[in-house]
């Protein structure tokens, strides 16, 4: 039996410090929660089934006989297990979540409600197309608005997240180059780029080289031009870039790249800063992914799912992946059967089993219709305004490496310059936790020392920002003063700093049922003590 029948087990030694004198380890509403496998059992279940009226016997003699080890809980226990776990999380619903590059904005519950309409949630991807015309309409409408908002020629809807969108974009580019018989090997990526950019380029078989940056945090156009050569397949630019700055020479970059026979990929993760204000299509880019889970507010869900449609230039459109939706005289049609379709013969192929993230499409469409033309423009403006407000309200206590070069876009970037006593970015971040905030993005982009990238988004109020600024100011002052106590932060969170080195050195990636009666078991790591 793999699940612990004896039930609850405190995960911390009782009474280990004056701060946790409770017997249970709980602290009023901050409740400890054991692992499922410690409280559940393979005999317990939280569902009822009717007994089968017959039994089948078509299992080819492969009946699973051994114990699987799947602990179950009754429904009430399940509710508590996950409710208690949830309460150990920070989230947008609780407060400011200024993770730079992540665009953690308000997630409207209208969108959750609409995505759950049975007409969207309870339809099968392989239903005959005449039975899913409304679903295809959602895809088609969203596609239309994404094309309109970006000023591009077409959009590939199936990529499942930003990185998958990058793949889609680079594969389109590669397909286009190969179609003209052009074998190029290098993709240029700025050092400040998100890790997915070089990873994607490498995945597509390209060699990655860095593009240098100027002192103002932008692509060094001259250096780029100097490097452009027939071996360069594409340049990946993030715009606004990961320093939170717009690339003012974007059009010139695109022109230079095109002149060299290469193509321009734009990482559109930061589209929130410019939606309704600037159309990437006007800047000469060839492909750009859009994170619906950022700009268009589909919830992050603790790590996913996302959705990463890729808008394409006319040059790339015919290489777009399958499936796609087209309008026909009889209604909308999902073009999926590769072999059968003449017109899609140049498509680089299929990226996912079905048609992409329908559940995110309905949410994003609802978001776009809700905001409308005026609202989307306001989104960008308020996002940029909020970021600049933070930048200017804190630059006297936090070093803003590009603060001199003018306004930022949707995120404010600071460095750890000026901190004393060995304190660094992580200490400021952990201090924010105690103050009731999720920290900013730390140590990214790599081009700035101890980077702190703060993206408030447009859904924060001024009063909320003011409180955040007050809190961060006070922590920054402590960091400049070398206040040792910051190293102990967080002290109020469900856990103090966690030992990541231990986790990586002795990976424990799944629960192992302890051997009975204190014999050596898989749980030994819990007995070790490490520093944060």
């Amino acid at each position: 039996m793999s699940a612990n029948p004896s039930g609850w087990r405190p995960s911390a030694p009782a009474n280990q410090s004056a701060e946790t004198p409770t017997v249970t380890g709980n602290r009023a509403l901050m409740l400890e929660e054991p692992l499922l496998f410690e409280i559940g059992s393979i005999e317990q279940t939280g569902v009822d089934f009717d007994a089968p009226s017959s039994t089948g016997h078509k299992l080819a003699g492969l009946e699973r006989t051994g114990e699987i080890g799947l602990a179950g809980l009754s429904e009430p226990e399940t509710m508590r297990h996950y409710t208690r776990l949830s309460r150990q999380n920070y989230a947008i619903d609780l407060g400011l979540f200024p993770l730079g590059s992540c665009t953690m904005k308000h997630n409207p519950r209208l969108n959750e409600k609409l995505a759950r309409l049975p007409g969207f949630a309870d339809i099968h991807p392989l239903q005959p197309q005449e039975t899913v015309q409304g679903a295809l309409e959602v895809i088609d409408s969203l596609a239309h608005w994404l094309i309109t908002l970006t000023g591009m020629h077409s959009v590939a809807m199936s990529p499942k997240a930003g990185a998958h969108g990058e793949l889609c974009g680079l594969l389109s580019i590669r397909a286009a180059l190969e179609a003209r018989g052009d074998k190029r090997e290098v993709v240029l990526v700025p050092e400040s780029a998100h890790g997915t950019n070089p990873a994607t380029a490498a995945f597509c078989g390209y060699r990655v080289e860095n593009i240098p940056a100027t002192a103002a945090g932008r692509v060094d156009l001259d250096a780029l031009k100097a490097r452009l050569a027939p071996d360069v397949a594409a340049v990946m630019i993030t715009n606004p870039n990961t320093c939170g700055l717009f690339e003012p020479e974007m059009k010139a970059i695109s022109d230079a790249v095109h002149a060299a026979g290469a193509l321009v990929y734009c990482d559109g993760a930061n589209f929130n800063a410019i939606v309704g204000k600037v159309r990437p299509g006007d800047l000469g880019i060839d492909a750009m992914h859009i994170n619906l889970h950022k700009t268009f507010s589909t919830p992050h869900g603790g790590g996913g799912p996302g959705s990463g449609p890729v808008v394409l230039s006319e040059a790339l459109t015919r290489f777009a992946p399958l499936p796609y939706v087209e309008k026909t005289a009889d209604g909308l049609r999902l073009v999926e059967e590769e072999a059968a379709i003449e017109q899609a013969s140049e498509s680089f192929g299929r990226m996912v089993a079905f048609h992409g993230q329908m559940g995110m499409f309905s949410r994003a469409l609802s978001y776009i219709l809700s905001h409308g033309a005026d609202g989307l423009k306001q989104v960008a403006e308020d996002a940029v305004l909020n970021a600049n407000y933070i930048l200017r309200s804190l630059e006297d206590v936090l070093d803003a490496p590009f603060g001199h070069s003018g306004p930022c876009m949707h995120e404010a970037l600071f460095s750890d310059k000026g901190f004393a006593g060995g304190l660094t970015t992580i200490d400021v971040a952990k201090g924010l936790i105690d103050e009731g905030y999720h920290p900013m993005t730390m140590y990214f982009p790599l081009v700035v020392h101890g980077a702190m990238l703060i993206e408030p988004t447009e859904t924060e109020s001024k009063a909320g920002l003011d409180q955040f600024i007050t809190a961060l100011r006070s922590i920054a002052e402590r960091a400049r003063a070398g206040d040792e106590s910051l190293k102990a932060a967080p002290i109020y969170a469900p856990r103090r700093r966690l030992d990541e080195t231990l986790a990586a050195r002795k990976p424990v990636l799944a629960y192992r049922t302890p051997a009975p009666d204190g014999a050596e078991g898989g749980g030994e790591a819990t007995a070790m003590v490490g520093g944060g």
């Binding site: 717009f246 869900g301 799912p305 200017r392 003018g406 001024k462 966690l498 520093g531």
Partner: protein
């Protein structure tokens, strides 16, 4: 606009602090000619919640809802009953609106859940370790092929004819660019799988053999011989599971020697959703963990010695390793993993076994009844909750005729393999616990009619 908290007076006060004269001053880096001046073409101004709801409801209303009709589709997406508490829990703001758990002190909820998910997936698939999810089954399969390539340093992969054609398609797409070679073939409408042919084609250059279990036609075959044959040549066995509920009743691929087991987790907790978001399952042997793609939650301790969880082994990942990462994946399918995990917790081993038995029993009944229709033949001699019929007529139009009768009666192989003449009479039928007696009666009647 209801989602935007700033008032005009806030905006002016803030501009003053910033020292800017207007919002447009903040966009000074955008060249004049690149600025959009008019409104967005064709898009009306912001709409009321009621209005947006009406528009989307109108679209939703044009679809035939699976739950409203007799419904028998599978082929990689299965309709199971998901308890109401699953949807309640995944909508808790603390799960729904959290980011990836980069700050573990205030993300223990997500991290512990992922650790539990990994454990559930590993145990279900019969492996030692599993990751924190992939996009879906098809991308998980592709990533497994890539991982096998890294482990074996070989680039030839044999894909069984029983693998979902869309999954094969995805692999084919990727292989075009990575230089991997894939050996693929079309399935045959027969009871036997291509296990023997696979075994015969393994060579010293084979990186991996990929099999689906149960396969696209619903057939089940012991993976042990293929595993042994692959291992004998230094190749890996990758198993793909698109219906994880089956593993409550039949042996796991891990038990039978698979080295990497990937799957589509949609069937547990997630729902149909027209194909996405789903959740890719990915499990393997402990010794391969550093070649694995995707996030991993691991156990550790905090500064006070309390057990806690963190994302770990990130030196495999793009944000640390960049172009040397094992995959470019970043955002994965966390919330669907939660749904899977909650549903699996509610089921527990006992419930999963009951559910699986019920599915198999029901499918067996239906198979028998449909095979009794004149001209209709059951292809399978083994299956879990999905089987293939050979109709006396082309299946694709038959499916459309059933739609006209208000029945969603399976997936035609013509839809999946549009060019394969030999398969065109094949109809793949999935039967789960959600099919009522009435549904089955209606399906039988509609199919009878449709094959006439």
């Amino acid at each position: 606009m209801r989602y935007l908290p700033l008032s005009d007076s806030d905006r002016s006060a803030m501009l003053k602090v910033i020292g800017a004269g207007s919002i447009d001053d903040l966009f000074q880096d955008v060249p004049e000619e690149a600025r959009l001046t008019g409104a967005i073409r064709g898009l009306p101004d912001h709409a009321t919640e009621m209005d947006v709801e009406r528009q989307l409801k109108a679209m939703a209303g044009k679809n035939m809802v699976a739950g409203d009709v007799p419904f028998f589709l599978g082929c990689g997406a299965y309709r199971h009953h998901v308890p109401a508490s699953v949807d309640h829990l995944i909508q808790r703001g603390e799960f729904l609106t959290a980011y990836t758990p980069y700050q573990p002190e205030i993300a223990q909820g997500t991290l512990q859940m992922l650790f539990e998910f990994q454990t559930q997936v590993a145990r279900l698939l019969g492996c030692e370790v599993a990751n924190a999810s992939m996009y879906d089954g098809s991308t998980a399969m592709w990533e497994a092929i890539g991982m096998a390539h890294r482990i074996t340093r070989r680039s030839r992969t044999i894909i069984s004819a029983g693998v979902h054609p869309h999954y094969v398609s995805v692999a084919r797409t990727m292989a075009k660019f990575t230089g991997d070679t894939l050996e693929t073939s079309l399935p045959e409408l027969s009871a036997a799988t291509d296990a023997e042919a696979l075994i015969a084609s393994i060579t010293d250059e084979t990186s991996a053999v990929v099999v689906q279990y149960p396969d696209i036609l619903g057939r089940i075959a012991d993976l042990t011989p293929v595993a042994e044959a692959a291992h004998a040549k230094g190749a890996l066995l990758i198993a793909v599971v698109t219906e994880p509920v089956a593993l409550g009743l039949i042996k796991s691929p891990g038990e039978m020697g698979a080295d990497i087991v990937v799957g589509e987790g949609q069937s547990i907790g997630v729902g149909l959703q027209f194909g996405g978001p789903y959740v890719g399952l990915f499990a393997t042997r402990e010794k391969f963990v550093r070649q694995m793609p995707g996030r991993l939650a691991g156990e550790t301790v905090d500064a006070e010695g309390k057990r806690g969880f963190v994302l770990t082994l990130s030196t495999r990942e793009q944000h640390i390793r960049r172009e040397k990462a094992t995959s470019n994946i970043c955002t994965n399918s966390g919330l669907c993993a939660l749904a899977f995990s909650v549903h699996m917790t509610l089921l527990g081993e006992k419930g999963l076994r009951q559910l699986a038995s019920l599915n198999h029993a029901r499918a067996s009944e239906v198979a028998e009844r449909l095979a009794a229709i004149p001209g209709v033949k059951l292809v399978n001699d083994s299956f879990f909750n999905e089987f293939t019929l050979r109709l006396p007529v082309e299946a694709r139009p038959a499916v459309h005729r059933m739609v006209a009768a208000g029945v969603l009666g399976g997936v035609s192989l013509g839809r999946l393999y549009p060019d394969a003449k030999a398969l065109e009479n094949g109809l793949v039928v999935a039967v789960t616990e959600t099919a009522t007696d009435g549904d089955i009666d209606a399906f039988e009647a509609a199919l009878k009619e449709a094959v006439q």
